[in-house]
Symmetry: C2
Subunit: 516 residues, 2 copies
Amino acid sequence: MTTKTPAQPRSRKRRGRGDGTPPASKRTVNYRQLRNPFPVMSVFSDDEAANMHETALRMLEDLGMRVLLPEAVKLYAAAGARVDGDMVYIGREIVEAAIASAPKSIHCHAGTAERDIVLELGALAFQPGAGAPHATDLRRGRRPGSAQDFTDLARMSHHFDVFQMMSPSVEPQDVPTHLRHYFTLLTQAERTDKFPFLFSRGTPQALDNFEMLRIARGLSEEEFKAGAHAYTVINTNSPRTLDVPMAQGLIDFARHGQLCIVTPFTLMGAMAPITVAGAITLSHAECLAAITLTQLAGPGAPVCYGTFTSNVDMKSGAPAFGTPTQFQASLAAGQMARMLGLPWRSAAGSASNVNDAQAANENQMGLWGCLLSGATVVIHSAGWLEGGLTVSYEKIVTDVEVLNMVAELCAGNKAGTDEIGFANALSQVAPQGHFFAAPQTMERYNTEFYEPIVHDYANFGTWTERGSRDANTRATEVWESILAKPEQTMIPPDRLEQLRAFIDKRTAEGGAPPES
Amino acid sequence: MTTKTPAQPRSRKRRGRGDGTPPASKRTVNYRQLRNPFPVMSVFSDDEAANMHETALRMLEDLGMRVLLPEAVKLYAAAGARVDGDMVYIGREIVEAAIASAPKSIHCHAGTAERDIVLELGALAFQPGAGAPHATDLRRGRRPGSAQDFTDLARMSHHFDVFQMMSPSVEPQDVPTHLRHYFTLLTQAERTDKFPFLFSRGTPQALDNFEMLRIARGLSEEEFKAGAHAYTVINTNSPRTLDVPMAQGLIDFARHGQLCIVTPFTLMGAMAPITVAGAITLSHAECLAAITLTQLAGPGAPVCYGTFTSNVDMKSGAPAFGTPTQFQASLAAGQMARMLGLPWRSAAGSASNVNDAQAANENQMGLWGCLLSGATVVIHSAGWLEGGLTVSYEKIVTDVEVLNMVAELCAGNKAGTDEIGFANALSQVAPQGHFFAAPQTMERYNTEFYEPIVHDYANFGTWTERGSRDANTRATEVWESILAKPEQTMIPPDRLEQLRAFIDKRTAEGGAPPES
């Protein structure tokens, strides 16, 4: 077995052909609206999946959900659920009606139509790592997330087309909690025209958010409510609890026509059963209860099924990510989502403390679990370290490389006459010759292959001469070059002025502390 | 969106339950015989794939193969091929007869029956990175591969059950080339009972290898020929050339009933067309020519279809790995292999110069290409850096973590009554409680989850206290602990004595220089 290294191509020759032909244009692939090209995989039989669904319905009927918001309890009761204090027992007919009224396809309105996405089974969207208390990069080290980090990460999220959705990357901990939602919305309005994220930390913040986004988008109240212009993520409190801000979020977003992504965060062996089947049955039950609440508050409201289920390390109790168990949990959740016909989210992520081989392997393993389970939205698809306690600037870059490659795979390939190339390549080159100058190569050399953003193909000698920089180190340069560009303002000046005026007014009024 | 970290489980309690119950046994999953559980993906339509096959047949008929070994030319001619000097024009009926006679399922005999594998479509086998001139590790740095490295890597390959096949990891450059095959076979015979690799560097070495393996296995000549006891890899010289040692290898291995894995190494844009369709059509044609030669030399001889196709970086001409193009090439090759019905090999690998996030992501991306294309054998599944110029001890370990996880996914999962766990888990825990002490958890805590070999789930504080060691650094400890164990001898003393006597005799006779 011989490893052959090709001779260096006469590449300079190729680029300036000397016959006046202009060089081929650069490769362009649309990453903004993706369809999942990968075959869907199941981990359980259809009968097993049906039994899980049945068991979840039985749980909601017989074991019940604890619902801490009286308004939510009333909504369930009005639909016919049995109530005992804060325990709500939801009959299957209520759940089934909610599944029927939930939309199977959701048009998500971005700041510009070319950034719009449609969430439905078969679509694919990525969102960068979210919700971390800390940020880290090689220049400044690990620190509490700040307004600067939130802004930097918003700009990086905007930069990469493969993120179709914005995320609450890190908590800007230097912004007071009663004013934080003003800052995070203003930042997104200014820095991106992608589909934005809104916090749902109680009704006062949600209503502020809706009003600000309405201003930023230049929409009337009716226009705003008529389409999904933003999304939030609702984590149930597993097992079987819906707390006050989460229940408020489900109701507020549904009533205003905005998207809730419902995500029980169920760690197997801790807040969820130790088995994939048990954990996903629990997660499914909680998800059904939350979806039901959205449809009771606003029939037809956009809602996304979701799960984020991994195992704990049974030695330490620490959450583990990118494990075979997380992979199988994604597959199982996909089976449940397809049963409902709803778009759904899964998640990647990493438990590693540093952007190393573990971090890369965990994130990619989790990602493939999402891709093969037919997830519509992959949350935390890039940047997460420490199981989500930190977002790494460098890891966003190295994970984007993988996401870009997945987006390239979404674009497919062809094997027509020109691509097979009997005439323009295969018959043009003698045995042991090379294809550098074949007509097919000349036509395509600048457009055929994906060009990496951080992967380096230099040989060992060249790489050593250039400073032996690993991917993490090179990633620093990538994000620095993105942030070194002039800041763009994506919102018209008049709307920005109105938005700032609203924020000033609300700030003077005392803002809106988060509910708990 | 809140990231919840579970409270520490009362794990010590769980381990010694205090009621005299012994702790649950450790998780055991058989990694030795795997079936691919992943759905098969195509990149081209069936019509497109059929056109590629047709074009390959046309190439063999009209463009021909250059065959440098006169004996091979004679075999093709005897079967009816048109010959012009060293150019051989192979009619489709000759190729089709060869495909018909090639076995669709190959029983590969290891040193012990429990290590046997069956290569056929649907089976899955992994082999560690092979054929590298250099070795590297964090202790000793990058250096030319040596006998010590070959031995160390053989022991590591033996250690991990997820490698079902041995590989020629690195070239032991301190062993003279006319004696090297004695050393590599003796090392495998002594250190492992897994399915071994043999070089095919000319007939004299091949015959030595067969005789040594026959002695090592205690087989008569007839017994040896009756089953595949070892494999080699045959790289054609793309485009459209079969050189002397490769042609000899195909003939020798076929006549002795041993397995050839045929692998054109076709770099798109260099020795192959720039398109996936063109490169795989070329690779397919070469593969068909080589498979045909095996069947002409020994009808029914075990032969594995194969490809190793990736793109070059068009800026530098350097080979790139783990790219979307390599992924699609694997998918395309899988379509061709399924058309033939033959077991086939694909490959992972990395172009990175160090075991970093790039190295991990490339290898895993390539691996998923192999898995989703239904590859039977994944060669270079762990350890390759620099596009195969170096095998990294640490990278073997970090890649094995991924392979182990894939093997865990091969084992599947269940959702029976006990796993869904309405009675033994879901109904046992109150809202916002935990499942640490649920009966289902107690039964399974020690067997439910895969335990990583190098991934670390410690939180940032603990990880920092322990020295902030990244995965690469921790991997050093893993391989050092493997090599610190006493060396096992896997061959009975009498056979070892015979084998050594044979080697001494042949060495005294001058050994067997490789053909070129």
